[in-house]
Symmetry: C2
Subunit: 200 residues, 2 copies
DNA sequence: GTCTATAGCTTGATAGAC
DNA sequence: GTCTATCAAGCTATAGAC
């Protein structure tokens, strides 16, 4: 039997991914996790907000580990990034377009309404970006280029999730993935780094 | 005095942008628009869902016109796209990171919970993409390349809104904008179109 | 068409037995 | 720590006077 607290957090993360923060009720979380209402407030005295913070952080780390596993399974960074987009598209397709970014919906919901949770989502994104910086530098990019690419990579993936879920199609993710992979390849190519010769 | 129905739709669009679909109450919409509850159901017998559909479509068209105005104000497509990212960053900063995409939050909320509204958001995105295709072809891209770029452009902008709102910083939008502009410039350059020599 | 009042339900949160 | 019962407040939706 798994830990009750963990079951609550996991159920919260799953429900947030599908229905968002305001769209998910505590009773729903209690039912999904098999825990009574009392246990929710026992483990999270701060109520829904505290529980949400824990769920966001947990799924943020979980998703990073998932992405890192994909990158680790590839021969190089360029191939790994391509695999991430292909894997994201496949996960969408297999889940009827439910399995996407675990925190994006909540991040947009709370951005202008709950500063505590906004900061939590910012922390998760910063963790992902830092991971990307490390990977990029390892692959041969400068620290600045690696950070810019990581931000661009994450943003493109998030935008892809949005368009794919709305359209219930993986086509957008394919087009977006190609653009991101092309840029990384160009940045890593010693002869013609992207961004050289910017005019503005 | 403006039209009551229009005031209701506008208020809905504004509130949805900040608090999302489930996070916005009909009473709040009534208060913000200055219309009584009865008027909401007079103009939108289908209730919240019908009102939401109208608000999403209206703000979708409104935002497209805003973007097109920026593009029309630029000397060429590359400059126009750069201006869109710069303008998005400025709008975020001036609104304390509230003025972003008018439909993204709702799109993610309803993607797995309300198929009627999901289709409406898909329709808005498709309208935006088609506009981008027209612009891209006009600038010299093939229809296929123009569509891929439009999808990529929109996704990157949406991802930028997400990261900027979470971090309350415009830095992500700057890095993302550079990547998108670089790709468009490469695609339009006759000597080395991006995507040439794909390996996967 | 406008507006008020309220029904019926669900929400987040709490009290208290065990 | 677990579980049930319940509160006050919020929601969507509706009824009915004007």
């Amino acid at each position: 039997m798994t830990d009750t607290r963990e079951r609550i957090v996991d159920a919260t993360a799953v429900l947030f991914q599908r229905a968002g923060y305001t769209g998910t009720g505590l009773k729903q979380i209690a039912a999904e996790s098999g825990a009574p209402m009392g246990s929710l407030y026992h483990f999270f005295p701060g109520g829904k907000e505290e529980l949400a913070a824990s769920a966001l952080l947990a799924s943020g780390v979980g998703y990073r580990l998932l992405i890192e596993a994909v990158l680790d399974g590839a021969t190089d960074y360029v191939t790994g990034v391509a695999d991430v987009f292909a894997g994201a598209a496949e996960a969408l397709r297999l889940s009827d377009y439910a399995d996407a970014c675990p925190i994006a919906t909540v991040a947009l919901e709370v951005a202008s309404t709950n500063d505590t949770l906004r900061l939590v989502t910012a922390e998760v994104f910063e963790d992902w970006i830092n991971t990307g910086v490390h990977r990029g530098v390892e692959a041969g990019l400068s620290a600045a280029a690696a950070r810019d690419f990581a931000i661009f990579f994450i943003a493109a993936l998030e935008g892809g999730f949005l368009l794919c879920r709305a359209a219930k199609s993986t086509d957008p993710m394919a087009a977006i993935g190609r653009a991101v992979v092309d840029r990384l390849r160009a940045e890593l190519s010693p002869t013609s780094p992207a961004g050289r010769g910017r005019r503005r």
